[in-house]
Amino acid sequence: MTQASDRQNPLLAAEQHKIGDLLSRLWEAEETIRAIYSGEADAVVVNSPSGPRVYTLEGADHPFRVMVEQMHEGTVTLDSNRLILYSNPQFAALISAAAESVAGSDFDRFLAPADASLFAGLIEAAVAGGHSSGELHLCDVNAATIPVRLSVNLLDVAGMQNLCVIASDLREQRRNEAILKEGRLSRLILEQAAEAIVVIDPRGLIVRRSESANLLARKPVLMELFDAAFPLTAAGIRLDTDRILAAMRAGEKITGVEAQMARSGVGTFALLVSASPLSSDGNELLGCVITLTDITERKRAEEALATQADQLARSNSDLQQFAYSASHDLREPLRQLAVFTELLQTRYQDKLAAEAGLLIEHAVSSAHRMEGLIKDLLAYTQAADAPQGPEACTDANEVCRKTVATFETKIAQSGASVDCDPLPLLAVHEVHLTQLFQNLIGNALKYCGQEPPRIHISAQRNDGLWKITVADNGIGIDPAYKNQVFGIFQRLHGGGKYSGSGIGLAICQKIVQRYGGRIWVESELGRGSRFMFTLPEKKNETR
């Protein structure tokens, strides 16, 4: 057996050597594992035929795990289907969920639906480049959205493409931004406001002010006493911070109270004062916002306007007085003059020289003519007066027909023809349209040439106004006088050739202008005239 053993000895020795080698390698491995567990080594690099390989053991995660558990950001790892493999407590807290309910959930559950494609883009970028980040919104279990910054990292673990997502809560940051923005906004408002705006504290100190507040006070007013900077009186009583704050405490608002502020050397300002309380959440009065609008200029303009209106009213009443004088006071002596001259003529005819009769006749006719002029002038001053009654609406066809009828005799005598196209409903008083047609048709009949008068009345609509045309074949008007004919007592024909005082077209113009329209004439001597005027249409007319 020994012999056999000896024979077998080299084999045994080889085996024993192998065992020793294995033992040492085992020890080495155990030592490595211990080192990794204890944190002395993170990983083991082993040379293999296919190159060096890195081995880590789970225990090596420990410090990182601690970090991940303790870090401020919410962190999750996702598998390639975006299933949450791991969530740290902060992520669960971020979405207000119980920590144990998060792992195993679909990450998309906690993503604001509107940001789904944004997130998909982040993942795509991370898979392609290893890392991506962007701002989007999560959606907590109560469906509230949370602004976050997501940082997505690709974790290529043993050929499995997992993702690590770190979410930083941006709510606080957003709040700060909003506060900053609001602060900027209110500062901007204060800087740009035309009104003087000040914020006072309960002691009456100005703690905020607009630029214009400084301008109004003509000095910097920050941290000044409001009452010193703006000594206000309203209705003769001081309007100071005591009164204003008392009103605020009583729950009263001050809105647009007119006040005065005397400034030595500058004069008195007229101001509109408004004040609103500033209260804490606990309803304690922290002060108030006071707005001072400088209305000095406006008041001055208003006063100037009132004075003008006054003057206008006076001049209007003067005019009415004149119209009355014209109708009565002036006509009375004229009438008497006419009557007494006539009496003189009839009673003393036989005692007077032959020529005396002629002179008296001239005197009588002059008095009558003057009476006529006065009547016309009165008619002119009253021409555009609005008649009482309902809103103006007149059928021009009807008025034209009636007016033509009043000229029946004249038309028959002269062999005239009057054609009238269909006319509209107009927003004017009947009496005014009647006067227009009476004057224009009357003129067309009066100023005729050798031919019998042919008169054509037509209408054209343009921009809410109707243009009415009265065309004739009469003697026409020299274009040089086309504006003059609308003046008061303007006549183009002397002597007794054409009767009239020359008030008719002036009256027409006054009436048309009253309705915002205009009147004009197109004519040539000997070739007829076309008088045109515009008047507003009747709204909702049915024609």
Partner: protein, 145 residues
């Protein structure tokens, strides 16, 4: 009624223009009426006369010719005062004016005018006033007689 009995009557003319008083006389004369004319050249005097009539100090006029535009108290006041009188309130009144506006005319009739006479500028037309007065007097005193 006979012409001479109308001549006994007295008329009150409220008119500040002597020329028009002259013409009123002419118109009455033309119509053959030589009534006694009492003239008041302003409204206040006219109202004073009417007060006297009411108090029994003065005889009542048979007719009034009142110009609308007389000084102090105008014609409208005189007309209103007359219409308030319990005894002579129904006396005929001719309101006169140089102007002839529809408004003035309407108002005069509303206040109780019997006639409205617009003073004309020809002799012939002015003389029509006489006829108007005669008709009114006859209508009143004719039935009364």
């Amino acid at each position: 009624m006979k012409r001479d009995s109308l001549e006994q009557l007295s008329l009150l003319v409220v008119e500040d223009s002597p020329a028009d008083v002259f013409l009123v006389r002419e118109a009455l004369k033309e119509e053959g009426l030589s009534c006694h004319l009492k003239i008041a050249d302003d409204g206040e005097k006219a109202i004073h006369i009417l007060d006297g009539v009411d108090a029994g100090d003065q005889d009542a006029p048979s007719l009034l010719l009142v110009d609308l535009n007389v000084p102090r108290q105008n014609g409208e006041h005189v007309l209103k005062r007359l219409r308030r009188s319990p005894r002579y309130g129904k006396t005929p009144v001719v309101m006169m004016s140089t102007s002839d506006t529809a408004v003035e005319r309407k108002r005069a009739f509303e206040l109780g005018a019997t006639e409205y006479f617009c003073k004309p500028s020809t002799v012939a037309e002015f003389m029509q006033l006489g006829k108007l007065v005669r008709n009114l007097l006859e209508a009143r005193h004719g039935t009364a007689a």
